[in-house]
């Protein structure tokens, strides 16, 4: 195995493109190095991207924030601006692992690991976040929703890697929330999860919403029917029931020791409902 501390984006792309064996990008390493140690992957090349210019920066852009691919969960959680604008995204990221893992783990890594239960991904999908990808053909932007393909597989092609994630601006009365179910209070993998982002008008009526689910299908889900159930409402109980039912209807989970199909399907709707109410309150709804 070779370890290369890359100096610039072009070098990373070249290294990844030229490697005939297995290459892995290293930012926080909290997935890659575990997989390496467990023998799940035997990389021929590790490219450390932490030292690229701007890759650890959070910068304001068009009223939103561009978050470098190597920004850790701890760094994100300390950024008052991102926490204020996208609290649901941040709370999803902060649920990943322990304090120690937060010191290293990144959103981009969580996304690229391709787990259906990745805690940062439903929040990013609800936020309609966009990743910036560098590759042999230059730079392209892609919606987070289009990155996961199947468990452990993502849509990036050879030579490509994520350089940043963009969280867009939002109107004044808007917020988001993320909730997951785990069998204990810390340090576990989501059995089911929901992210909700919404915008309200002056009287508290929901004017726009995005609802996403994690851990209940091979990839993260965006549930438009669930969002439509609360748009035009003040999140009354009847609308929330329709939202929950729409979420449960699209679930296609696995059955394992941590949760049955029935449980995951039902709880996904419950979590979406509760996350919607938290987002509503954060957005200033009564």
């Amino acid at each position: 195995m070779r370890y290369v501390k890359a100096e610039n984006v072009a070098e990373v792309v070249q290294l990844l493109q030229d490697e005939v064996g297995v290459a892995r990008v290293l930012a926080g390493g909290t997935d890659v190095l575990v997989q390496l140690k467990m023998g799940m992957v035997e990389p021929d090349l590790i490219v450390d991207i932490k030292h690229l210019e701007g890759i650890k920066d959070i910068v304001s852009e068009d009223g939103g924030y561009r978050i470098g691919a190597a920004v850790s969960g701890a760094e994100l959680g300390e950024h008052a601006g991102v926490v204020a604008l996208w609290p649901g995204v941040v709370e999803g990221v902060e649920l990943i692992g322990s304090t120690q893992v937060q010191g290293r783990a990144t959103m981009a890594g969580n996304l690229c690991n391709g787990s259906p239960a990745a805690d940062s991904v439903p929040g990013l999908v609800a936020a309609d976040a966009v990743v910036r990808i560098a590759g042999p053909d230059g730079v392209r932007d892609c919606a987070v929703l289009d990155i996961p393909v199947s468990p452990g597989k993502i849509s990036l092609t050879k030579g490509e890697f994520i350089t940043s994630i963009f969280l867009p601006k939002r109107p004044e009365r808007a917020s988001d929330a993320y909730l997951r179910f785990i069998p204990r209070t810390e340090m576990d993998i989501a059995v089911a999860a929901a992210g909700v982002s919404l915008e309200l008008d002056a009287d508290g009526t929901c004017t726009a919403a995005r609802v996403s689910l994690g851990a209940v299908a091979p990839t993260v889900l965006l549930v438009e029917e669930a969002a439509n159930a609360i748009i035009g409402t003040k999140l009354d109980e009847a609308s929330l029931e329709i939202l929950a039912a729409a979420c449960s209807a699209v679930c296609n989970p696995i059955d394992d020791k941590r949760g049955t199909i029935e449980f995951r399907t039902e709880i996904a709707g419950v979590l979406a409902k509760r996350a919607a109410l938290i987002a509503y309150k954060r957005a200033g709804g009564q």
Partner: protein, 158 residues
């Protein structure tokens, strides 16, 4: 595998070592630098026994490559006492019997020190969440939380 030469700083001392590209920082600290205070419990970032600070961030050294230490500032349990003077956390762990076998203790001390630097007056709940990544098989967490709080009180001058 071609070995890598790394220049770093460990507990304030400029340090150089040679390591394999897939060698963890934990293995470097223990086997090459003979700093055996950091322990390997799980080797997968679950137990926290290998906790160290890298550039001011609490991390599991089993999930850091030795090569990544290039140019970084590493702080380990060995740098916690000043000569013969134990850090208040170390003293309170002894006074409060907050350890039995001691394998998890170095990691917990490093993690607790990081917490108190960020939050000098944490609630018990905040201590428990912060230390959720430090597993202890024998003490039971109650004495650990109490020792951290006693040290925090002393450090605040209370």
């Amino acid at each position: 595998m071609k070995n890598i030469h790394v220049s770093t700083t460990v507990n304030g001392d400029p340090t150089e070592f040679i390591c394999a590209p897939d060698e963890s920082l934990l293995d470097v600290l223990r086997d090459r630098l003979r700093l055996t205070g950091s322990k390997e419990g799980c080797g997968s970032g679950d137990c926290g026994a290998c906790s160290v600070m890298v550039d001011g961030r609490l991390v599991c050294s089993c999930l850091v490559l030795g090569a990544e230490a290039e140019g970084a500032k590493i702080e380990t349990i060995e740098g916690m006492a000043k000569g013969d003077d134990l850090h208040p956390l170390q003293q309170h762990f002894i006074d409060g019997a907050a350890l039995q076998c001691g394998i998890c203790t170095p990691g917990i001390l490093v993690a607790a020190k990081a917490l108190l630097e960020k939050n000098p007056n944490p609630t018990d709940t905040e201590v428990r969440y912060w230390l959720a990544g430090n597993l202890c098989r024998c003490t039971g967490y109650d004495k650990i939380i109490k020792a951290v709080q006693a040290a925090a009180a002393e450090m605040r001058g209370a």
